[in-house]
Symmetry: C3
């Protein structure tokens, strides 16, 4: 995508998040709630967590964007997810599907598929999850994906994006964002970031905040990915381990300035 | 309230919390559990989290105080909240209602109202929540309340306190505590504290600990507010961002000594 | 147990956890999820949290070990716990029962007992919990157990271990691990560790990771206890309070090297 200064555009998106403080409604897993809410607050967005079927429709309509993550499913959460997604779509709000662990059990695979039918704006997952959504099996062991798995996931991402009219973001050592026609890669980050739980889930929440302020979902996703990769690399540089990395990550997201982001973002 | 050395009284309350380690039963939201338990432990209190209807009555009776927070409602949690509140009240235990987000959806508004009818000792909320409880609408955007919203919330707080025979604590840049006749203001804190999720919820849990050791709920609430504001300001002074602020806040609560609290508490 | 260099064996177990990255399925309480997952990741293991009855059997079978913790029970979680434990046992996977707070309410006591009947490999609790499982009452106040409570818990642990053919680990100032015939003590740690919520729960998850890589459950448990005690003491040495202690603990677990563990582990 020549002619676009992606790092500068990412800095502008971040400024818009900070300026407009979008309300992001999240129905997310029990492990990820704390970090997701804190990442949204550090970004300047406003988190709202709610999963009761009795209130999700009202909140999904009021919020600027919605994020649904299936990491720790409870039976009564699934209809609430359906309802929130349906209302968000009907109201023209962007919504993100994070199909955490959809490769791990048939139940999650089925729940992820049904949510996919409700028309997410963005699907954000790792290579195994995106492959599973496309009906293929990953050979990933312990989250470390072999090169051919990554390649297969890229093809699957483009196929899912075209078939569903959405954007697919595949995170890994280098992230891929595609809408089936256009695609962007986001490089950077740090290996120690895989040692913090729920960081991918928090990234999905961050994507929702960027989708609320940037009309092109491909760009919005790449910008959110770049912000987390840059802040993550800066945080890792001085971290003694994953405990301090998580603390420093929130500080870096909060303090990230436009110049630093423009200088370090690697989007192409 | 002339004639009372509030900072010295706050230091005495804190010493009593540390000395008697009150068991605080919390039925709180999924986002706030970790921070609330850690704030209680840092204060010297003993947290107990339980929401199953089958066990809340037994725990509410055993505990020194109860805190109920409606931040992330599940259908089966509501009857458990009713049961716990009813038992706590019948047993003469103080209990705190934190009506998180009751202005956000009709469902939460209704749940908050029904809990209000069960006679909380203290209601702790922000200006929008207190206004919503009083049946009025806030013009708050993104948690930043306009001056007239704050003024209206103060009137609503006094009205709710008188109508329900309870104390109402309204947190904001300056906190207000009122029982409808007497009122106290607590100043201090730091703006960055609004960038940590669940801090208000954790404060409500802290209030329950202070209610367990101080007979006058107006005083107990003001003391808890002052401890969090002083520790929060000290924590913010050296924080690089919200990640380190949260870590330092727990350290400051844990290490806060009587002299520092007396010197810095601004209660009047 | 003469003739065994326990610290060296603990270092070997830790190396095996890091090398094989065992998948640990946890059905744990809402307060403990974040810390448990982060402790597992810092150790080098792979956490999977799932509690839906529709998927626990599949996950329990796939995982290398299972951990069940009853800290915040919901009605629909209990049958899922039964199902996961039954599948894990049938598949020959080790599983850990953490009967958090089973002394606090009759409901938890009953749930803990029924899980005990499903044949855990290891039961990990504090003195009060182990006494309650044995049908006795502790005189513990606020988690500080009197000397005679600790002594009684040791007898109860050996009795439970023999009656159920399992290992029982009792944590406290000095930890005890027993299978009813053999027993080991693990010393070390730091008093400030009691001021962090869910650390015992996270230790139970760590035990599951060690059970996945060490055939003798008595040894595996002692090794996990020693790793947490050594990392905890190192973390506490430079901590300003419980906030930084928790951060430093994850860093120390992540960075703990074999030589440091061998030098500091006190298992006998």
């Amino acid at each position: 995508m020549p002619g676009i200064d992606h790092p500068a555009a990412a800095a502008e998106s971040l400024a818009r998040v900070r300026g407009s403080r979008p309300l992001v409604h999240s129905i997310t897993n029990l492990v990820a709630m704390d970090l997701s809410a804190n990442v949204l607050l550090a970004l300047g967005a406003s988190p709202a967590m709610a999963h009761a079927e009795a209130e999700v429709a009202e909140l999904a309509r009021r919020a600027a964007a919605l994020m649904i993550n299936i990491g720790t499913l409870s039976p009564d959460w699934v209809p609430a997810m359906h309802r929130a997604a349906t209302v968000a779509r009907a109201a023209g709000r962007p919504w993100v599907l994070d199909p955490v662990g959809c490769a791990a059990t048939r139940h999650r695979g089925a729940v992820a598929k049904e949510l996919l039918w409700l028309g997410p704006t963005l699907i954000r997952g790792n290579a195994s999850e995106i492959l599973a959504l496309a009906g293929r099996r990953a050979d990933a062991t312990h989250g470390v994906e072999a090169g051919d798995t990554v390649e297969a996931a890229r093809e699957a991402a483009a196929q899912i994006a075209r078939a569903n009219g959405c954007v697919v973001g595949v995170t890994g050592e280098t992230d891929l964002v595609t809408d089936g026609r256009r695609s962007l890669e986001v490089a950077g980050g740090h290996p120690m970031l895989t040692r913090i739980t729920a960081l991918g889930c928090a990234l999905s929440a961050a994507c929702a905040a960027f989708l609320a302020v940037e009309a092109d979902p491909l760009m919005a996703t790449a910008h959110a990915f770049a912000v987390l990769k840059v802040a993550g690399a800066r945080a890792a540089a001085g971290a003694a381990g994953p405990g301090s990395l998580r603390v420093r990550l929130l500080d870096e997201i909060y303090g990230l300035d436009a110049a630093a982001l423009r200088a370090a973002a690697r989007i192409r």
